[in-house]
Symmetry: C2
Subunit: 337 residues, 2 copies
Amino acid sequence: MQHRSARPTQKDIALAAGVSQATVSIVLNRAETSAVPVPTRERILRLAGEIGYRPSHPARTLRNARTMTLACIVPDITNPFYPGLVRGLQATAAPAGYAVLIYDTDGTPEGERRALGWLQQGRADGAVGMFYHFRAADLTDVARGNLPLVLLGRQSVRRGGPPIDSVFIDNVAASAAMTRLLIRRGHRRIAMIVAGFGPSQVRAEGYGKVMREAGLAPQLIVDNAHSAEAGVRAMRTLLAQGGDRPTAVFGANDMIAIGAMQAAREAGLSIPGDVAIVGFDDIPTANLLGLTTVRQPELELGALAARTLIERLQPEGSRTASRSLELDFEIVERSSV
Amino acid sequence: MQHRSARPTQKDIALAAGVSQATVSIVLNRAETSAVPVPTRERILRLAGEIGYRPSHPARTLRNARTMTLACIVPDITNPFYPGLVRGLQATAAPAGYAVLIYDTDGTPEGERRALGWLQQGRADGAVGMFYHFRAADLTDVARGNLPLVLLGRQSVRRGGPPIDSVFIDNVAASAAMTRLLIRRGHRRIAMIVAGFGPSQVRAEGYGKVMREAGLAPQLIVDNAHSAEAGVRAMRTLLAQGGDRPTAVFGANDMIAIGAMQAAREAGLSIPGDVAIVGFDDIPTANLLGLTTVRQPELELGALAARTLIERLQPEGSRTASRSLELDFEIVERSSV
DNA sequence: GAGACTTACTTATACGTATAACTAAAGACA
DNA sequence: TGTCTTTAGTTATACGTATAAGTAAGTCTC
């Protein structure tokens, strides 16, 4: 009894109230119950308050097999698209009693594997993630531990195995729409800057399809990152083409597009006078720079992911099959076109 | 034995290997020990792999009284200053085996109280936080549960009570330096846009001190948020002053400054020709917009906070007194002055 | 050949909680 | 008066792990 600084437990309350720990647990958990008479119940509640009792989350977790935690696995939280997603996730998760754990994977296979390893230790009850290197099929053994998973981005429909949901906007349709906008504005030489992985893939698809349908030649510049630096590099390459350089450039995300804008300005070109530039995501900065882009509803995506996970965690939640939840995108026209 | 989908435990390995659970635990935890002969140890390790055993994080947490989790409590993760902080925190925490939990408080008293409540349930081993409404003195009962706390921002030195560390840059000196820069450039009417809480307080202090020393009249516009919208509102107020409107405006953070830039441009003013605008934080967007600002090393602040917490969690870590860890700021001059 | 020591384990316990199963005492009813 | 029910609890157990304490069999020592 020498360390009175330790957090008080139900046992301490029980001791003080002259009842058993079980009785304390019953009083604290079952709001209305006839099993404990009012005087006793009030004595226990009063003592709990005086002693400063807080339930032990770890103990509850072990006993209930619920961590009350959702994991959010993203490539890099400093990519401005993700904080909004996290915020949406939290806004829905917190009122339901769930905390949010964050993992950055750096978009690397090892990073993603590490995140999955942590999930398999039972650190969270569910996870929403953006994986570049694992497909839904690779994740079934994680999900098999009854761990609900929501992936960002469209997933091919799988049959059999545990349910894995996905939330997304239609990237192909969105980049197609953006490409059509550029064509409508009279552009013929339209290049797209992409990375060789992640969301770039599908976005390039929509672009390529529309270009070919319009009888135009797609020009893809592939870099190895979704960063502003990648945009700068790629734009310099494009500008080095001289006379037949593109009149419009489509960045696979806003960071790339912003980098491209910088490089264009450095080269003394005006936007959109000399070259039009568009992006994808509508991160907060896009608005400030007047970048025409595709708006993704990050907050709603996060909130939807959270709702989906929480639903799956209800008693019969894992009964239903995998769902693909699509939200609407929006083309936001600003001054860069 | 009907639900073979449940995660395997040490007991399952023990059963398969024909030993007791304790032996399995010893083999899995103590790399080299003479207590278990090599053949047995190898058999156990092999079976653990085959069965797909993963230690149960919740069980470990209860047994070891360690959650291996650090909490990060911020007003709003979508404020671009924080993702970098979180990243720095993670980069240091993850290799040490710690996961990072995020809470948004919205900068409200209830939000902050809720976050503290979660901490008191033992969800994390330590926390780094930005509190607007609680001072170190208010946090002692949280810290008393032996929960190391790192606060962002300078804290007055307390004596007695559990140690609470802080990491920060010298906000007063930084805003003083920025104000001096504006004065050096010939500005006389310099206004500052602040919020009535949070980091605004100390930043206003440095500004006010330098202005008075220079014999100039400080003009503080107080809004109720650190957002771009707040900057727009305040700037409109300033511009409505007509002829004696300020020639330079200092935003308490970059979001406010960016809002001010927008409002100035809308009013047809050129920056820095008609009005100079500076901010504080050096969020990624500041670079893109050419905003002169104070650079805070967010990644380093996060990493330092993580290192501090982890140190405190070592056996004798809580022996030393509270520490105040100051990092250097930097004035980043761009085109807005 | 008896005691001490080593080897290779095992048994038991604790962490804090939630809950199923039990029980002693009091009251109701015939 | 004896049985049944209700009341107000209690005891016991489990979640999965880590570790202290114990032990049976074999080996060594003198």
